[in-house]
């Protein structure tokens, strides 16, 4: 941990679980550690069910059944929020320290409320003495900075197109200038052009001083590559690769990360000459994950040792880490031969 940089969010060994109706325990976030510095964005990739959304929820320190906190620390600007009571988290953390845009947030907007009402709600929870007039002035200015027409404030969600709705959700989420913004698949259901507008807006939030750092979650790797500084790949509740966006996409170490990068589809010349690398099989059931490497069942390079004991996250230096018993040299060599 360098002293030079300003770490906004630090997570150590965070473990959370779902307790199902049948009292089964699903460890969807398993000893996750991460750091986000001021002015930086972190991307989280991985296939459906690997725990991305659960991690996003867990990071807020705001737990309600079936999700439960097990252990670990969440430190925002030096303050550990993991031990706080849910009510306190809601009052003093959400919106101001961390803002969260859940998957399909735009479809969850209350259809009977005008946008300005959402804005008022946000302020009332944190600054009940602000007058309506002040709130409206502030919102108008913020919307303008973010490139949204002021008229949007007086509209109902149904009157907005999908892209406009999503951008409105983002704008309202960052009104209190949170230190960390967590966006879970914010553009996945949109057409490419609207997606691009949403991305442009997200990227502008830091420049405009609305947020200090961002965690961006999506299974679309080309998108992560273009938006975030660093990428973490999750598999079965664990981090299996941590690297800069460029390294993660062009020089991944973990076999699962390598597989993901091989499934990227972009309309660029050359794509038709490569064969997409489909990863066979499905992820393990998190109620009862395998003892050894969780990827072993699907890994081309699996050996007997892989299945013996849990595989730790190896530090590869320079901020990189990966969870595989094979050395960097062996892995790179293997990928070279695979072509």
């Amino acid at each position: 941990m360098s002293v030079m940089s300003n770490v906004v969010l630090e997570v150590r060994d965070l473990t959370t679980k779902y307790v199902t109706r049948f009292r089964e325990e699903v460890y969807a976030v398993d000893h996750v550690s991460l750091q986000v510095e001021e002015g930086k964005s972190l991307g989280i990739a991985g296939e459906s069910g690997c725990g991305k959304s659960t991690l996003a929820l867990s990071l807020m320190g705001y737990y309600f059944p079936p999700l439960h906190y097990t252990c670990g620390e969440i430190i925002i600007d030096g303050r550990d929020i993991s031990a706080m009571r849910p009510d306190d988290v809601r009052k003093s953390i959400l919106g101001t320290e961390i803002a969260y845009i859940p998957q399909s947030a735009m479809n969850a907007l209350n259809p009977t409320q005008k946008v300005i009402h959402f804005v008022e709600d946000v302020f009332q929870a944190h600054d009940p003495f602000k007058s309506k007039k002040e709130i409206h002035e502030f919102a108008k200015e913020a919307f303008e900075t973010l490139g949204l027409p002021e008229e949007v404030l007086q509209k109902y969600p149904v009157e907005l197109s999908g892209g406009m709705k999503q951008r409105t959700v983002i704008a309202v989420s960052v009104l209190l200038c949170p230190k960390v913004l967590i966006a879970d698949e914010p553009s996945s259901a949109l057409d490419v052009t609207t997606q691009k507008m949403v991305i442009k807006m997200l990227k502008g939030l830091m420049e405009n001083g609305f947020i200090k750092s961002m965690i961006f979650i999506t299974h679309e790797l080309p998108l992560l590559y273009n938006v975030t500084d660093d990428i973490m790949v999750m598999y079965a509740g664990q981090i299996v690769e941590k690297a800069t966006a460029r390294e993660a996409v062009f020089d991944p170490l973990h076999p699962y990360a390598k597989g993901l990068m091989g499934s990227i589809i972009v309309p660029e010349s050359g794509l038709r000459d490569v064969k997409l690398a489909a990863i066979p099989g499905v992820p393990p059931n998190l109620k009862d994950p395998p003892v050894g490497c969780r990827f072993a069942e699907r890994c081309k390079y699996v050996r007997a040792e892989c299945k013996v004991a849990a595989v730790p996250l190896y530090d590869a230096g320079g901020g990189r880490a990966y969870r595989c018993i094979l050395s960097e040299e062996v892995l790179r060599e293997a990928y070279q031969h695979a072509g």
């Binding site: 299974h219 790797l221 038709r272 990863i279 099989g281």
Partner: protein, 270 residues
């Protein structure tokens, strides 16, 4: 495009209008096309451009308001229910939202059993039917034993999508319409589904029509691409021509707006 072979499915001036007066929507607007046997064709367009509506017309689920559909060189005749059933032996579809395309009250084994019956296998011994169903499931990496007695809504999106492909494996149609077959699943499993579809095509020699908003996917899988905007085909041709050398500004925009990894993705255009 003039072609050596006769097209297996064509359309001339195919149009579908919904509603009247102020609610009138021209979902498909005078489209012409020729799909040739064995080709993989993609129809690419944004949300609401009319892709699904066209797919429904092609499948005979809704009638075009105007225009003609030609099937195997002849004007398509699906006037009676019997003719429609014959038609559906040759042309089948995988739909955008797999949960909508099943009868939720029917168990999965009956979904597959229906396919065997449709292909004239009603009289087969029970053991043979189970064998066929198990084979179809293993083709798509599903375990038949784990599926029996389940209802469609008990499967995940990805499992459902694979079950749809297992259906096609049993039905062996001449033409397959796949409407956003990978939109329900993540980018990582997308390659698996595409692999399965392409393998199936090689095995039974189907013509595949992909309907998608994903221009990268269209480029990867198809021989021919049609670009759809507001119900019209604005550009068509070989995948290389359309995607690498687009002529229409609409096509250019679609391509520009997809995030890239080799070239720079220019955000200043929106």
């Amino acid at each position: 495009m003039p072609a050596e072979k006769d097209p297996c499915l064509s359309g001339r001036g195919v149009t579908k209008v919904f509603g009247f007066g102020r609610t009138r929507t021209v979902a498909v607007d005078h489209v012409d096309f020729d799909f040739h046997e064995g080709e993989v064709i993609s129809i690419v367009g944004e949300s609401g451009s009319g892709k699904t509506t066209l797919a429904k017309v092609l499948l005979g689920l809704i009638n075009p308001t105007e225009g003609e559909v030609y099937f195997q060189g002849k004007e398509r005749d699906i006037g009676s229910y019997r003719k429609k059933k014959e038609y559906w032996k040759q042309i089948q579809a995988i739909f955008q939202d797999p949960y909508c395309s099943y009868n939720i009250f029917r168990k999965i084994d009956t979904v597959l059993l229906d396919c065997i019956h449709m292909r004239g296998g009603r009289g087969l011994p029970r053991a043979k039917k189970v064998e066929l169903m198990a084979e179809a499931c293993s083709f798509v990496n599903l375990k038949f034993d784990e599926l029996t007695n389940k209802y469609p809504f008990e499967l995940s999106g990805g499992q459902m999508q694979r079950l749809m492909i297992a259906r096609i494996f049993l039905l062996k149609p001449k033409i397959l319409l796949a409407d956003e077959p990978t939109s329900m699943i993540d980018a990582c499993s997308r390659a698996t589904i595409l692999d399965m579809l392409m393998q199936l095509r090689d095995e039974i020699g189907m013509t595949v029509v992909f309907i998608t908003h994903d221009i990268g996917l269209a480029y990867y899988v198809s021989d021919v691409v049609y670009i759809m905007e507001n119900g019209r085909f604005v550009e068509s041709g070989s995948a290389d021509n359309v995607i690498l050398h687009p002529k229409e500004t609409y096509t250019q925009r679609l391509i520009n707006d997809v995030p890239k990894i080799y070239e720079e993705w220019d955000l200043s255009t929106v």
